[in-house]
Symmetry: C2
């Protein structure tokens, strides 16, 4: 027997309709690429998004077509999110910080019909012009006054965004279709192999946006102002461009200048209450606040994800600035949020130190997201905060297959529908998950596992160390042994033996690395992750003193 | 092109699975019908719910079967919510305060296979025994020690709840099926005609539960304790038995003693942060707090709905006790929440008086819920806070048809899918809706509409008036004119002319009622709504002095 409720499909377009109708006066403020602050309301955004939808149809963009964006967080990117998905096409957000050949690979693998590009990302596309023959045209996200000369015009149709939409009507009836229709596409910035595309649906996007704004995740109300530092080209800015208009909150789109000074000014000027970003961004902000003596006047909490958050950032914001750091975890494959570290009852009695240490964990599962840790045989590990293993997950906003993935034609789930995250983790008795490593970065020594991340975290606790990477090197007796590659803080004089001494008493003796080298900098992916593949190549011949 | 996300059905059983797994240590505390406080955890609740699911299957309850409950808010009722829907059957919550003949009508119309009944509601069923021939058995929600003798045993199989589940295994694999499957059934307590059944689905229930816990509605986190005073037999206690476990919050189930003293004690003992109920409940609580000198030590806000909240309650809690009243609106047909009155930016600068007056409005639409006000021709009225008309709504948790409704075989929606709420309302420029009347209670005088609720609200503002009902009486010249039936406060000596004088300057002169009578009490439905049909009958022959 069916419930006799209305059969409404979950449509992304309904978010903007709701925001414009119920919160039409609420603002979206953007640091424009052309300079200055652009301000308008959800009511304005809806009109321009409808103009854009009409324009896309006129360009011949149809249901299922992919339209690529290479853009920072700003109002035109917001319009693209809603117009492209609203007509049934797929908004393919591309990370402009990837290596150019990866960008070309992604554009061609996705089969993007049109590309929308921000002014200062245009040079990247100009360089790629010969390598994207199937792209029908490029739209430059600016007005006629700022349109540049571009040699792209020699190979591609080039259009000015404001010219494209300017003459279109401000009315458009958003079509209603199957909520499982693809709406967005984002490629993983894998540390190995070619990037893989994750295809989000209208349904997965809406369910994720509902879950993300639960009280213990990222609650947003009409009185909030949210600044997503995390880019819109990086897993939909953690869903905030959907969650915030759902709640009628104000959006502060920060553009491309994400240094501490700019962030502080935008946060204080626009009365930001919540923001989200990766550790390096918050480290920059923390250093700026300390140096300038400024404070965040309205920010209550900062969401942090994308990489494990060091204790120093949590403590710094908490003790010095009264700002709470909310540690979370997700992946491109998860839309992206899976866990968030909000306290449970009783934790209000924790000492500051206990609380900060607890905040190092990546958090507990959102409703709708299931996770478990399994051993090598696939048996679930006890939730004791110690037993580690592969982290598996499932749920309506978890990927079941990559887009046009010829290597895995049957998808990427096991027989029970679990997705293997590639992370190694523990879960404690209260449900808090902590990533201990990537599966491929674990070090197996004498039959026992050693976490490379744990060793890196200890190293950066040393006052003389700025950053550290730990990789496995082969060892005749123990199979593998840990090896540290570290960057010193300016002026620091820590040496090999000093750093190895520092490990003593912090972990079991047999886990202490066998050797250290110091370098000027470590290699990273475009999204800030350590590129351990490069380090393994570079140090493949390094001989451990113990070997 | 379909998004390649996991195809997971939205299942109510997944809520309890999540709560037991991620918040297994969190408590459900219940004021037991047998006396005392019953305490257990979500982990315990899941085990017993699985026992109950096994027991229901053993009784022969299958997919689509209706199982009725006549019960207060307590842990066994919670188990029934999840076990019945979890096996694919329909949890039919019955209001034991309805007239017995209505209860019998509902049981028979729903075709309930089994009934579950709380100890002190058993006499109602005993009286109805001859009128429910198709009910296969009655389960009394208690243990063997408290099992009463009952003459129900002469006509029906009678079972003890704890005996029923005690021997069943604590394991059960919740089946996964179409999320549009019926999960719950609740009958409207209509003021006219027979009650009508609204059939909720798993999908509508989960989407509503997500929406209800948005920050501007009823945000719940793991550190909250929620006390639903609104009964579980009344539109699923506004969805809180689903929303709270989703968030891992603590549930305080208040049983049947809902007086101010009991509520105060439960709220303070269990550190309740959020509660929900109808105006009369909160009035009782307010009076108790004033008389006892006690305070609510942990409650931050009280949700109020089911009837318009008088200014005196909002002011009283706000000014005297620092507790914020959140005014909401919903209907059985809406699962039930449609709007909630949370502030928008700028309103923090309101004076206390302006804020309290604003809180009289029923609020703005939740995301996922659409509403509009239309005139008699169906044209949308401007959102100016003044233009009123019929309130229409739609969304995935709005009813499209009543259960087995032979009067409306084609459902109850218009061609565009809108449901007519039967309410008359305004919406202001910021999206705040205010109910001005029920369609059938509007008074048409000289071609113009007069709101009976507005006239009632003014009357109860008079210090001598406790309650007032305003109905239309026929008039030879003006077609209809307003007529007040009022109850005086104890010891008050307000008379007809005094009350009519009191209207002057508060509304247009032509809207002032033509006459007043005083009575000792007004008739109400089982859910506390004024029974104007009775008053219209009783005063049908009353002659207005102006007629």
């Amino acid at each position: 027997m069916l419930g006799l409720m209305q059969s409404k499909q979950l449509m992304i377009s309904s978010i903007l309709t709701h925001a414009a109708r119920e919160h039409g006066e609420q603002e979206i403020v953007s640091a424009a690429v052309e300079g200055g602050m652009h301000r308008y309301t959800y009511a304005d955004a809806e009109k321009r998004t409808k103009q854009l939808a009409n324009a896309l149809k006129a360009l011949g963009v149809g249901v299922g077509d992919r339209v690529g964006t290479l853009a920072w967080n700003g109002y035109r990117h917001f319009e693209l999110y809603y117009a492209i998905s609203g007509i049934g096409a797929v908004c393919h957000t591309i990370n402009p910080r990837l290596f150019p050949q990866q960008v070309a690979y992604i554009i061609n693998h996705a089969g993007d019909k049109y590309l929308f590009v921000d002014l200062n990302i245009l040079p990247l596309l100009e360089a790629l012009a010969p390598h994207m023959p199937r792209v029908e045209g490029v739209v430059i996200m600016t007005d006629a006054a700022h349109m540049p000369e571009t040699k792209l015009a020699e190979t591609h149709k080039v259009i000015c965004y404001e010219d494209l939409i300017g003459a279109e009507p401000e009315t458009f009836d958003w079509p209603v279709f199957d909520e499982n229709t693809a709406a967005g596409l984002c490629y993983t910035s894998g540390t190995t192999g070619n990037p893989k595309g994750v295809l989000y649906s209208h349904r997965s996007t809406l369910l994720h946006a509902y879950a993300v704004q639960m009280k213990d995740v990222a609650p947003v109300g009409a009185a909030d102002c949210v600044l997503p530092v995390v880019p819109m080209f990086h897993v939909n800015a953690w869903g905030l461009p959907y969650a915030v208009p759902m709640a009628g909150g104000k959006l502060m789109m920060p553009g491309f200048r994400l240094d501490g000074e700019n962030l502080t000014q935008m946060m204080n000027d626009e009365k930001v209450t919540l923001s989200s970003g990766v550790p390096t961004i918050w480290l920059g902000l923390l250093q700026y606040l300390r140096a300038s003596g400024k404070r965040l006047e309205t920010v209550k909490s900062l969401m942090i994800g994308g990489a494990a958050c060091p204790l120093a950032i949590i403590e710094g914001f908490g003790k010095e600035f009264g700002v709470s750091i909310i540690h979370g975890w997700g992946m491109t494959e998860l839309s992206p949020v899976g866990t968030l570290n909000a306290p449970k009852p009783g934790m209000e009695d924790y000492s500051d130190d206990d609380r900060y240490r607890h905040q190092l964990k990546q958090g507990r599962a959102l409703f709708g997201f299931e996770m478990k840790v399994v051993d090598e045989d696939g048996n679930e590990q006890p939730r004791d905060g110690k037993s580690f293993g592969r982290l598996l997950c499932r749920g309506p906003w978890v990927c079941s297959a990559y887009y046009n993935d010829t290597e895995n034609p049957d998808g990427i789930l096991d027989d029970d529908g679990w997705f293997d995250t590639g992370d190694v983790a523990t879960i404690d008795s209260q449900g808090y998950m902590q990533i201990t490593d990537r599966t491929k970065d674990l070090i197996k020594s004498g039959g026992e596992w050693i976490s490379s991340i744990e060793l890196e975290n200890i190293a950066v606790g040393h006052p003389g160390i700025q950053e550290a990477a730990v990789i496995a090197l082969p060892h005749p007796k123990w199979d593998e042994r840990p090896f540290v590659i570290a960057v010193r803080n300016e002026g620091a004089d820590v040496d090999r033996d000093g750093l190895l001494d520092y490990y003593k008493g912090k972990i079991a003796d047999w886990m202490i690395p066998d050797d250290v080298v110091f370098v000027d900098e470590l290699p990273h992916t475009a999204t800030g992750k350590l590129l351990k593949t490069d380090l393994r190549q570079k140090f493949a011949e390094h001989k451990l003193p113990t070997a």
